[in-house]
């Protein structure tokens, strides 16, 4: 593995170099607000396409609100177009042109989520390959940036990640003090990008300081839960009807905020958008938290109450993903905790499950 150092102030120049090399660059940016200093205004940081190295927020702020999911698994994706001609239908396939893309400033949790999405959309899942996802994935390079200031909702260390993890990354940056960044080239794609940035990269990196810096940040995480016993507990089908689901989940209001901001949630819907005799069939994001998500045509709904839908989400993260797709379902980014309007906290579920799993008798005695 090759290492180097980079001046933190040169990131803007990096973006410019990548743009000059005809790459599409996506970086965290602050979105305009009506009233920047008003009491209601929050900094809205999102991953957006950038046209110059100015105004980027790489390494600043914590997590962009949207995550990188939408650049691989678009929130609105035309699958093909069709045209009706009398009794005949013509299907016009889409030949998307996929630009080579670099996403810079990705946090380690987001980078780790890519592998999970890939396990769903690639042909490893039942031999069906979603071409839209895999094509985009193959043309996207991730430049990750270790976290420096995790907030109270972060819990990546509870799901076997860390604020400086390079999992899923192509090129990894870590702050090592004095305004310098330690650069690690992880993959071939990362190497290609590093080649573009040759003139800004200097000498050898400082592995020891990088590890020390990473460990220091890891210390700052306050929300630590034990996720080890969760899967075994969930595997016991008797626990599917445990009273805790209903008790914790009754305040859930059934908005899809947690699923839409989640970097590993992959559910979608397929609909037709029709205009006259033509239209597109499109794939759009959907959420297991919506009441009609599993509604049968007969009117029967397997998940008829909201707590059952949240139970499915928790099961999806900690049982279905690891069991079926063999990848972690939760990367501990904490977005669902920040986004939830009623403070329904996935780590509360984790703590409760861990408690139940380790003290089975205590619960029964209650």
């Amino acid at each position: 593995m090759k290492t180097a150092t980079l001046n933190k102030s040169d990131i803007g120049k990096c973006i410019d170099l990548l743009l000059q090399a005809d790459l599409r660059v996506i970086a965290p940016r602050l979105q305009p607000q009506v009233d920047e200093d008003g009491p209601d205004a929050l900094e809205v940081l999102t991953f957006t396409e950038v046209k110059s190295g100015e105004g980027h927020q790489v390494g600043k702020g914590l997590l962009p609100l949207n995550g990188v999911k939408e650049f691989l698994f678009a929130k609105h994706e035309p699958l093909f177009a069709y045209e009706k001609r009398g009794k005949k239908i013509e299907i016009i396939p889409v030949h998307h042109e996929y630009p080579q893309t670099v996403i810079i400033g990705v946090r380690p949790c987001d980078a780790a989520s890519i592998a999970s999405l890939e396990s769903v959309f690639s042909d490893a899942n039942a031999g069906f390959e979603d071409p839209f996802f895999t094509e985009r994935r193959s043309r996207t390079t991730f430049i990750t940036y270790s976290c420096t200031a995790p907030d109270s909702s972060c819990f990546c260390t509870s799901v076997e990640l860390s604020p400086d993890s390079a999992k899923g990354s192509d090129l990894h940056l870590t702050e090592i003090g004095d305004g310098r960044l330690h650069v690690e080239v992880i993959t071939k794609a990362g190497e290609a990008v590093a080649k573009q940035l040759q003139e800004l990269l200097k000498g050898e990196g400082d592995q020891a300081t990088r590890e020390k810096a990473g460990a220091e940040v890891t210390e700052k995480l306050t929300r630590i839960r034990d996720s080890a016993p969760i899967m075994d507990w969930l595997m016991d089908t008797a626990n599917f009807d445990d009273e805790m689901w209903q008790r914790l989940g009754e305040k859930c209001i059934g908005c899809g905020a947690c699923t839409f901001v989640c970097p590993t949630c992959h559910c979608f819907d397929i609909v037709d958008e029709n205009k006259g005799s033509k239209g597109y069939r499109v794939k759009i994001w959907d959420s297991c938290q919506f009441d009609h998500f599993t509604l049968h045509a007969s009117g029967h709904n397997p998940r008829d109450w909201q707590y059952k839908r949240y139970r499915n989400r928790f099961n999806c993260k900690f049982k279905i993903y690891p069991e079926k797709f063999e990848t972690p379902g939760c990367v501990g980014c904490g977005r669902c905790i920040r986004a939830c309007p009623v403070n329904l906290d996935i780590t509360e579920y984790m703590a409760e499950v861990a408690h139940k799993a380790t003290n089975p008798n205590a619960i029964k005695a209650e």
Binding site: D40, E250, K251, V342
Partner: protein, 297 residues
């Protein structure tokens, strides 16, 4: 103050006057609070009230939250003035009966705009803008109020134009369109704005209807614009301005600006303030022969 509320809640539960008390409890981290349903008298100690208690609890009284409400005949609810306006509006729309609800009013000095902005105290830098000029800090419709309830004059037109709405209204038309266009670009239609709204009470939302499908379910511009306009239109004269839609938006879109603007329009045109009277009909289901019609050819 909260001690008095707890005592009252304990009494209500012990006497069997109510089945549940909806209130606020400590959340999962120090800046957050969470809604809680208290069913046993011994749990009332969990109830808290301070400026972090942002949630609009009346949303759980809405018939959409059928499951949560299962088995509750009479519900006690802790309400800030603005939440009580929402309850009153629900009653006025026949979504609730007054005698099903026991309102524990709390005097409120304003709430924080976002939990992230909480720094231990409430000040001008983090007080939600909906609280500026609020005339229901001493709530109007209560069954219980800690201490003596002073008389407040609520007859004047309420809250001045919000600063954000004024800023937008000063913009040129196409700039305003461009603003919404960039803002709505982020929307991915999680419908958090709908679900936190105490007034969204349709059994099936128009956006979930498929025959016909009035609003494209996709989160592209057409679908997003159409959704937000429809939402705003459905809340004209009903929105009580709790601002929850903006707070709940995970992408930081200020969707309640539409509602704030419509609040002004309703007030200018029909001098109507929602959520103050149990009987008044909301302005779009009634009319006067001499309503303004200066725009009609």
């Amino acid at each position: 103050m909260i001690e008095q509320i707890r005592n009252q809640a304990r009494q209500l539960l012990e006497n069997g006057d109510v089945d549940v008390v909806i209130g606020y409890a400590e959340g999962s981290d120090p800046s957050r609070t969470t809604p809680i349903f208290i069913r046993k008298a011994e749990d009332v100690e969990k109830l808290i009230y301070d400026p972090r208690c942002i949630n609009s609890l009346p949303l759980y009284l809405n018939k959409r939250h059928e499951y949560t409400r299962k088995g509750w005949k009479k519900t006690a609810i802790i309400g800030k003035g603005c939440d009580i306006r929402a309850i009153v509006q629900l009653i006025a729309e026949n979504q609730l009966k007054r005698d099903e609800i026991y309102i524990l009013g709390v005097p409120c000095e304003g709430v924080v705009s976002h939990p992230e902005k909480w720094d231990g105290s409430l000040h001008d830098g983090n007080r939600a803008s909906k609280c500026i000029g609020c005339d229901v800090m001493i709530p109007h419709e209560t069954d219980f109020f800690p201490g003596e309830k002073p008389d407040v004059d609520r007859s004047s037109p309420y809250e001045a134009t919000s600063k954000n709405v004024a800023t937008l209204m000063e913009l040129e038309l196409d700039k305003r369109f461009a603003f919404w266009r960039t803002d709505f670009d982020r929307c991915f239609k999680c419908y958090a704005c709908r679900e936190v709204c105490p007034h969204c009470s349709c059994n099936t939302c128009i956006t979930d209807e498929t025959m016909p499908s009035w609003i494209d379910p996709a989160a592209h511009k057409k679908g997003v614009f159409s959704w937000h306009l429809t939402r705003a239109m459905h809340l004209v004269g009903r929105c009580t301005g709790c601002g929850e839609c903006t707070r709940a938006c995970p992408m930081g879109i200020q969707v309640d600006l539409f509602n704030q603007r419509m609040k002004e329009v309703v007030q200018e045109s029909y001098s109507y303030k929602p959520g103050y009277s149990l009987e008044d009909k909301h302005p779009l289901i009634t009319y006067k022969v001499d309503d303004r019609e200066d725009f009609i050819k």
